[in-house]
């Protein structure tokens, strides 16, 4: 008799514990991967460049005019990496297939201007953000400031750089490119969602 009661108690308690645990995880622990509303044309100025591809292989580089949200696609093939912006506003792409060769691309037309043997003397890489998660908030730290917004701990931002003095451009694990304001109430807006997930992003005002 006692044995039956014990088993019943244990089974009921086990069921209760399992249900309670699932409820706690679903309603307290899980934070959905953030959805970003789309950036509307005319809301933001500047240029963003990122790599587009398939199966982790780069096929092209896209340069996005944030003012018009019109992308310019530069077919480059695999084996290249975005380096940054030339002082005159053109885009520099490192072509690994050709050794130390750098393509200089016109950001407004996508046409190749020239191939350089080395980076210009006055070139400097954009500072990549230090990104971490603290208590369910993703924190993106850059010299211009810090942006924080809710995101799960497993959510990865693969690349983040400053856009001017008060905005940050990010590429996340889903290959989404977004621009956000700096601050604790950061509100990322979706620019594109076709970046290769490990793409380096560069931005200029």
């Amino acid at each position: 008799m006692v044995r039956v009661d014990r088993r019943l108690i244990a089974i009921v308690a086990t069921g209760g514990l399992v249900v309670a645990t699932i409820l706690v995880i679903v309603f307290v622990a899980i934070i959905p991967v953030p959805e970003y509303p789309a950036l509307q044309p005319g809301r933001q100025s500047g240029y963003v460049a990122y790599q587009v591809g398939d199966n982790d292989r780069t096929q092209s580089v896209k340069i996005m005019d944030l003012e018009t949200l019109t992308p310019i696609s530069v077919a480059v093939g695999d084996g290249v990496e975005i380096v940054g912006w030339h002082s005159d506003g053109s885009l520099l792409i490192h072509d690994w297939r050709a050794g130390d060769a750098y393509m200089r691309i016109d950001a407004t037309t996508g046409e190749q201007i020239e191939i350089l043997d080395s980076l210009p003397a006055d070139f400097s890489y954009e500072t990549e953000a230090f990104v971490y998660n603290e208590g369910g908030m993703v924190v993106i730290e850059l010299p211009i400031g810090t942006a924080t917004f809710p995101a799960p701990e497993s959510y990865d931002i693969r690349s983040a750089v400053a856009l001017g003095d008060d905005h940050i451009v990010i590429v996340d694990e889903l290959g989404r490119v977004a621009v956000t304001n700096v601050g604790n109430d950061a509100n990322p807006l979706l620019v594109a969602s076709d970046a290769v997930e490990w793409s380096r992003v560069v931005a200029r005002p």
């Binding site: 006692v2 044995r3 014990r6 088993r7 108690i9 244990a10 089974i11 308690a13 086990t14 514990l17 399992v18 645990t21 706690v24 995880i25 622990a29 899980i30 934070i31 959905p32 991967v33 998660n133 208590g135 369910g136 809710p150 799960p152 701990e153 497993s154 959510y155």
Partner: protein, 321 residues
């Protein structure tokens, strides 16, 4: 009827009040000596030594040819070894000899490892599943096989295999969910599984109870993993679990729970102190606090243990299995 069946039946008869604990132990001793008398005592250790040497030789041989094998060859090899281990366990299990029973248990314990390796080869080498959930698939398959073997052979090692498979699964799950913080969810999962394990042992649904108490306690102690996010709440819970285990050890007279309770205190008190007072308290002070609390708890447990314990809880001592 195999030895594990006899042990389970004895446990059930004690629960039903047909025989008492002393009579159960007497029957157990009688059955053990009846068949153990067939072989000298040194045979079993020497047999294990021989089996270990064969296993090491096969392992070294496998390492040498592994790289030369195609994925299907590797899979076939893993499946063959797993099948051999399973069949050996099956044959051994038919014997009433305790030594054969232990060998069967060990063989099926390795069978679970074989299933894990086979599932891993299928998922990662053959199918080449490129998803974050792939490890979970391997772990779930392993757990199902471990539970299946445990259902047929309810011995300590089979329960350990289920526990290891479960622990592996629990460690993987938080990384796959979009969680705000992964650490405390891992701690919560270990606490809940530990509590369920202890409950099922208390209800005599897990055999042998000695293994059930120990494994349930170990899972419960894992609650402190929640402190990996520098959250002292979870290491504090780890301390409470430690105290709870010490108290439980006095109630059901299981020294293993006392040891595990103290282990929890030794791990989670300094963790909590370090998280809360990292800046102001030096390491020696944290160790001193841990030592004083541990000694106090053990002395209190010894004093409590001298009182008459509750009756009716399964297993009077740690040797009950």
């Amino acid at each position: 009827m195999s030895r594990s069946d006899v042990l389970k039946a004895l446990d059930d008869w004690v629960s039903a009040g047909l025989i008492d604990e002393e009579q159960a132990r007497a029957i157990q001793r009688h059955e053990a000596t009846a068949v153990e008398g067939e072989l000298p005592g040194w045979v079993e250790p020497v047999a294990y030594l021989g089996a270990a040497l064969v296993a090491v030789a096969l392992f070294l041989f496998g390492v040498q040819i592994w790289d030369q094998l195609a994925p299907t060859g590797r899979l076939l090899l893993a499946m063959l070894i797993t099948l051999i281990l399973f069949v050996v366990g099956l044959v051994m299990r038919l014997s009433m000899s305790p030594a054969a029973g232990r060998a069967a248990s060990f063989s099926w314990f390795l069978t679970v490892a074989g299933v894990a390796a086979t599932a891993g080869l299928i998922v990662f080498d053959i199918v080449d599943l490129d998803t974050d959930w792939a490890p979970l698939l391997v772990e779930a398959t392993t757990l199902v096989s471990a539970v299946g073997l445990y259902m047929f052979n309810q011995r300590a090692l089979q329960q350990v295999a289920v526990a290891l498979s479960t622990a592996s699964l629990l460690a993987t799950i938080p990384g796959l969910l979009p969680l705000g913080e992964e650490g405390w969810v891992a701690g919560l999962l270990f606490l809940v599984v530990g509590a369920i394990w202890l409950l099922l042992t208390w209800a005599r649904l897990l055999h042998p109870p000695a293994a059930g108490w120990v494994l349930g306690a170990l899972f419960s102690i894992g609650v402190g993993f929640g402190a990996f996010d520098d959250n002292a709440f979870w290491s504090g819970l780890g301390i409470l679990v430690g105290l709870g285990l010490v108290w439980l050890s006095t109630q059901i007279e299981r020294r293993s729970l006392l040891a595990l309770g103290v282990l929890a205190l030794v791990i989670w008190i300094p963790t909590t102190v370090t998280i809360l007072f990292e800046e102001s308290i030096a390491v020696p002070v944290a160790i001193l606090i841990t030592g004083v609390v541990t000694l106090t708890v053990v002395v209190a447990a010894i004093r409590l243990g001298r009182r008459p314990s509750q009756q009716g809880l399964p297993g009077a001592t740690d040797g009950a299995s």
